[in-house]
Symmetry: C2
Subunit: 474 residues, 2 copies
C-alpha cells in the first residue's frame, strides 16, 4: 500500500525552484525531500499524471524526472507496482571535522620564508600573458614527466651563470617543490638498493623525515663551525644530504677542505652527495660560493627552488642529476603525479629568460641584507645570545647561554605575543644535551611589518633575559 503522500504538495512546492527549468527543479525538490527524510524509503510516489496535475507540470516532465532519479538510484521503478523511494541515506551523515588551513601569525619570524608581499605580481602577470598569448595549444595537453624543456633550458643557463652548476637541460628534472623532489629522489635511490643516508645534525627535521620515510636508515652527520664534519663519513652511506652553501640551521658554509673531502668520499665510495641549495641566492658579504655540484657533477645532485625567491605557493623546484639518475627519478615523478603543471613552468622560464627573475632576486637580496643587519644589531644588546653563521639566507640561529632562559619558555612567550619562530631543539637528531636556540627568520614579514616583529622579539628577549629591550626599532 502507498504510504501517506499528504503534505507532499506543500513540501515539494516549497522547494520547487524552476529557475533552471521545471524538470530540473522537480528533480532537485524530490532529491532534497528524499535526503531530508520527508519522502521516506519505500514511499510510493504518486502517478506521473497525478503529480503533474498537482504541480501544474506536464506529465512528460514528471515522467522524465522520475526516470532521471531512478537512474541515479533515488527511486525504484517496478513494472506494475509504480515508483517508490529507494534506500538513500538521510542528508549528509556528519561532516568531517574541520581541518584548519595555515594561519599567518601576527609577527612572522619563521625561518625559510620570503616576503610574499613582495611577490612580483606585475611581472608574473605580464609573463603569464606572454605565455598564454603565444602558447601553442599543446601546452594545455599532456606534459612531460621530466618538466618542460623551456624551463630546463632556462634553468641550465641560469644555474650555470649564478651558481656555477654544470649541466645540460636533459639532466634537470622539474618537481612540484623541493619536498616532492627529495621524496622522489630518495624513493628512486632506495628502489635502487640504497640503504643508509647521512643527514646533517642539526638539520631540517621535515626533510630528515622524508629521507627516513623513503626507507633510508638515517645516520647523523654532525655539524660544527666549519660545516658538516665530512671526515665522519664512512663507506657505509649510500648518500649524504647537505646544505653546503649555508648550513641549515647554523648558517655556516662548508669549508673548502671539507668540500674537497666530501667529493673525495663520493668518488672513492661511490656515494652520492645531495646538495640542497635552498637559499643560495642570498649571500650578503661577498659573491656566493658556487655550488658544490660544479666540482663533481657526476656525484652530486643539486637541488634548488623558487620557494625562497618567489614563494612556496608556486610549487616549483628542480634537481640537477648525475646521468644515471635521470631516468629513475623521472619515472618516480611519473608514478607520483605524471608531471608538474605546465603554466607555472612556462611563466618561470619566461621570467628567467627575460631577466625579470634576476631583477627580483637582486632587489630581494638588498632587502634581506638590511633586515639581517638590523636583527643582529638589535639582538647584540641581549647578553649571552650568540648569533651564528655568515651573512646569508633568510634566517639567523641564536644560541642560548647555559643557565639562561629555556628555549621552550622563550617559544611559549613568543607564542603568547603572536610571534612565530622556531626552536633549535627539534632540528637535532637527538636533542639530549645539545645546544638550545632560536631560529629567527627575517624574510617572511612585509617591509612594513618587520620592525614591529623585531620589537616584539626584543621585548620577549628583554623580559626573559631581564635586561633592557635593546634599542627601539627605527
Amino acid at each position: 500500500m502507498p504510504k501517506d503522500w499528504s503534505g507532499s504538495r506543500l513540501d515539494l512546492h516549497l522547494s520547487l525552484d524552476t529557475a533552471g527549468g521545471r524538470r530540473s527543479g522537480l528533480e532537485s525538490a524530490l532529491r532534497a525531500a528524499i535526503r531530508e527524510g520527508r519522502l521516506p524509503a519505500g514511499a510510493l510516489l504518486p502517478s506521473t499524471r497525478g503529480l503533474a496535475g498537482e504541480l501544474g507540470l506536464s506529465r512528460g516532465t514528471v515522467s522524465a524526472a522520475y526516470g532521471q532519479l531512478a537512474e541515479e538510484g533515488y527511486l525504484t521503478t517496478r513494472p506494475g507496482s509504480g515508483t517508490s523511494v529507494a534506500e538513500v541515506p538521510r542528508d549528509l551523515p556528519g561532516t568531517a571535522r574541520h581541518l584548519p588551513g595555515p594561519r599567518t601569525p601576527r609577527h612572522d619570524l619563521r625561518p625559510g620564508l620570503p616576503d610574499v608581499a613582495a611577490f612580483p605580481v606585475r611581472a608574473w602577470l605580464a609573463a603569464t600573458r606572454r605565455v598564454l598569448t603565444h602558447a601553442r595549444p599543446e601546452v594545455f595537453g599532456a606534459g612531460e614527466p621530466q618538466g618542460r624543456i623551456e624551463l630546463r633550458v632556462a634553468l641550465a643557463g641560469y644555474l650555470g651563470r649564478t651558481r656555477g652548476v654544470v649541466t645540460t637541460p636533459d639532466r634537470i628534472v622539474i618537481t612540484s617543490g623541493h619536498y616532492q623532489g627529495l621524496g622522489l629522489l630518495c624513493g628512486a635511490l632506495v628502489a635502487g638498493g640504497a640503504r643508509v643516508a647521512a643527514v646533517e645534525d642539526p638539520g631540517h627535521n621535515a626533510f630528515r623525515d622524508v629521507v627516513r620515510r623513503a626507507g633510508f636508515t638515517v645516520v647523523a652527520l654532525p655539524v660544527d663551525a666549519r660545516g658538516a664534519r665530512t671526515g665522519e663519513l664512512t663507506g657505509r652511506e649510500a648518500a649524504a644530504f647537505l646544505t653546503p652553501s649555508h648550513q641549515y640551521p647554523t648558517g655556516v658554509p662548508l669549508c673548502p677542505g671539507r668540500r674537497r673531502a666530501l667529493c673525495a668520499w663520493a668518488r672513492s665510495t661511490g656515494g652520492l652527495v645531495v646538495e640542497d641549495d635552498y637559499d643560495g641566492e642570498y649571500r650578503y658579504d661577498r659573491r656566493p660560493v658556487g655550488a658544490l655540484q660544479g666540482v663533481a657533477p657526476d656525484r652530486v645532485v643539486y637541488c634548488g627552488t623558487v620557494s625562497k625567491t618567489l614563494g612556496p605557493a608556486l610549487r616549483l623546484a628542480w634537481m640537477v642529476l648525475p646521468p644515471q639518475l635521470v631516468e629513475p627519478v623521472t619515472r618516480a615523478k611519473r608514478h607520483a603525479d605524471l608531471y608538474t603543471e605546465t603554466l607555472g613552468q612556462l611563466v618561470l622560464a619566461d621570467l628567467i629568460t627575460t631577466h625579470a627573475y634576476d631583477r627580483h632576486v637582486r632587489a630581494a637580496r638588498l632587502r634581506y641584507r638590511r633586515r639581517r643587519a638590523l636583527l643582529l644589531d638589535r639582538v647584540a644588546a641581549v647578553p649571552g645570545l650568540v648569533a651564528h653563521g655568515v651573512p646569508a639566507g633568510l634566517h639567523t640561529l641564536l644560541t642560548l647561554p647555559p643557565g639562561g632562559p629555556a628555549e621552550d619558555d622563550l617559544l611559549a612567550r613568543c607564542a603568547r605575543r603572536g610571534l612565530a619562530l622556531r626552536g633549535l631543539t627539534e632540528l637535532h637528531h637527538d636533542p639530549a644535551g645539545r645546544a638550545r636556540g632560536l631560529l629567527v627568520g627575517f624574510g617572511a614579514p612585509s617591509e612594513r611589518a618587520y620592525p614591529a616583529a623585531l620589537d616584539a622579539l626584543l621585548t620577549v628577549l628583554a623580559d626573559a633575559f631581564g635586561g633592557a629591550p635593546g634599542r627601539p626599532g627605527p
Copy 2:
C-alpha cells in the same frame, strides 16, 4: 715545480668575457680552463701579481678570483706553496640520454583528451588577473594540503548543482591531477589495512597499475552491456573502482539495478566505492545521470578533474571523501608534495564562481556531440565494426568482427599514417580470448583538424576491411 703555464695567457684571454665584471670574467675563464683540461689538476697557477700583470687586471681582482675558486673547490691554496688546480672532472662526463617529451601525433584520436586548441585563454587570463590583483600576499606563501578553501567551496556548489554530489567543502581534497589523487587514496587505504581491490575489466590500465603499485591485490570486476557486474563483488574486496556514469572504455552507464546493488554491497560489507567521474560533464542524448556518490556519500569517493574540460596540463583534480578518509588522504597529500600549487586553484575557483567554467563546458559539449555523431556516421559504413556505449564522453569503443582485421595490424596501419588511437587489448586484465577493438577519441583534434583525422581513420579501415572508405568528410 710549476707546470708549463705557456699559452695560458692566450687561452684565458680568449675566454675572458668581462661583461659581468672583470673578476667574474676571470673566474669563468679559469673555471672553463680547468674543466676543459687546459689547466690540469696539480698545475700551479701564476702568482696573483704575475697574472694581474699578464691580463691587465688589478692584483686584488686576481686574488679575489683565486679565493672564490678555492672556496668552490677548483683551486687549492697551501701556505708557502702557492695556488694550484684541484682534482675536478673534465667537462661534462657524458650527458644523460635524451628523454623525448610527448609529441603530438599528426592525427590525434587518442581517447580521453579534450580539444586543447579550445582552451579558454582569455577567460583564464582574465581570471588570473583578477586573482593576482586582489590576492592577499598570503596566497603566495605556504598552502593547505587539503587544497584552497576558495576552490573547495566553489566545487562543493558546482558538483552539487551539476553532478548531484552531496558534500561540504571540508570533505573535498584537491590533488595535482586524478592520477596523483588515486595514488594517494590507494596509499591511505592500504596503510589502513585494505588489501583487495576490484577494478573494472576492461578498464583504464594506467589506473589499474596505480592501484596495484599502492599495494592492492587487484581482482577483475567484469563489465557487460549494463556496466560492471556488481553482483560478482564478494565480502573480500575493501574497495571497488568504477566509472559508473560512462564506463571506460565500453561507454555504458551502470544500470539502476546495479547501482543499487553496489550501494548495498558497500553498506553490508563496509566496502568503499571509488567513483571515477572522468567525463561526467559530457552526455549528449539526455541530462547526465547524477553521481553515484549522491546516493551513498558515506561509502563512495567521488573523483573529478579538469583534464577533460580544460586540459591535463593544469594538473587539477578533486576527491569528495567520506568523513573518515579526509584526514588520512590529506596526510598522504602532505607527505607527497605538501600541497598543490595555489594560483591554478584560485583561478579555477574564480572561473567556476563566475560561471565561465559552465559556459566553457557547455560549448565543449555541443562541439563533442557533433563530433561523435560524425564519427559514428562514418564508421557505420564499415561492415562488422560495432560501436558501443551511450552518447557521452570523448571516445567511442569500436569492437572488431571475428575473422576480420586484427587489432595490432590496424594499430600499426594507423601509426604509419601518423594516426594515434588506442587498442582495447591492453585494457583487459587478461587479454587472452577477449574482444579486440579500437578506442577512438574525438576530443583531441582541433575543429579544423578533426575531419582530416576522421578521413585518415576511415582510409585505414577501408584498406583493412577491403570496403569503400565510407563517405568522404564534410
